[in-house]
Amino acid sequence: MEQKQFDIISIIASRKAEFYINVRNKLLETLPSNVDKKKARTQLRRVIADLDNRLFISEEEKASNMIKPGLSIAQLKLDTKAILDQIIKGMTET
């Protein structure tokens, strides 16, 4: 692997981190007291980290083969359904 690939990995990791923090903050507000928040947080972090990198590259970027590091998660317009399916699958696994 070359340095350019690691640059892209670091951008994708940052996108995942941004997404994780947004989801975590929203999700923890709604968790009832009988669910272990720490476990839920850890599991969510692992699930989002293990998501396929391609899910965090927008269609526009794929079409142009150009990663735009300045875009936020909301600006990327990612495939919500694909990401959601993967997260639900990961979170419901025992």
Partner: protein
């Protein structure tokens, strides 16, 4: 004429009510209703000096109010538990059982998770604590990329690391056999990068927790090594403003 408590209140006879512990004594006496009050006494034996007690006989409450003349008398309401701060009574309400995380998200939590994911992907104005500006625009992402590459090069020094030779390398690095080879390489890479202080520095500049950054980089590296590694090579990176 005020014969009932309601009539007392309606006809303005409140002043006729006796102010004290038993406001309706006259009404009770008239209709022969016993007083609703529970008493409990420690001792049923009165002091010999309290033969003229005004309280019920077993209470020994003397009219003179002297010492030991009614001191052994107490009253409490049996319907309320007595407070004991040293050993509080167990709560009468049953504590809810802890639900496993996976079970919760299989059932009622699924909607909350869906809502949070949708919000996370479209949050235009994140709340306090959420990331407002992409972390990589605040920090030079290429520094992280270069740091990871340097660690990767160190690991693979003398041994070619590629998706095809990962099993061999992961065995050499002493990773557990059950872990997939790409995960093993990624975990080793992140461990070494953490030791070098790479994530700590980035965490200080971006405000994202070091553990979160490390975990996300591990997952992304693992994904790149396993599935989309070849695909990433075809992408170029646009120069970011502020990067």
């Amino acid at each position: 004429m005020c014969s009932t408590p309601c009539e007392f209140l309606k006809n303005g006879c409140r002043s006729k009510l006796r102010v004290g512990r038993d406001r309706f004594s006259r009404y009770r006496r008239r209709y022969g209703i016993p007083r609703y009050r529970s008493y409990s006494y420690r001792s049923s034996t009165c002091d010999e000096r309290c033969w003229n007690a005004t309280s019920p006989p077993s209470a020994c409450q003397c009219s003179c109010g002297g010492a030991n003349h009614g001191g052994r008398y107490r009253r409490y309401h049996e319907q309320y538990p007595r407070r004991n701060f040293a050993h509080p009574a167990p709560s009468m309400t049953p504590q809810p059982r802890e639900t496993p995380v996976s079970d919760y998200f299989k059932s009622v939590g699924k909607a909350a998770l869906t809502s949070a994911v949708v919000y996370g992907l479209s949050a235009a104005a994140p709340p306090i604590g959420a990331v407002l500006i992409p972390a990589y625009t605040l920090y030079n992402y290429s520094k992280l990329g270069y740091g990871l590459f340097k660690v990767y090069r160190e690991i693979s020094e003398g041994e070619k690391v590629s998706p095809n030779s990962m099993s061999k390398i992961s065995g050499q690095l002493g990773e557990v056999a059950t872990q997939s080879s790409s995960d093993a390489i990624a975990s080793t890479l992140i461990t070494k990068a953490s030791q070098s202080g790479l994530f700590k520095e980035m965490a200080e500049k971006t405000g994202i927790q070091e553990g979160v950054l490390a975990e996300m980089t591990r997952g992304s590296t693992s994904s790149a090594l396993s599935a989309s590694g070849g695909e990433l090579a075809k992408f170029a990176i646009m120069k970011a403003v502020g990067a």
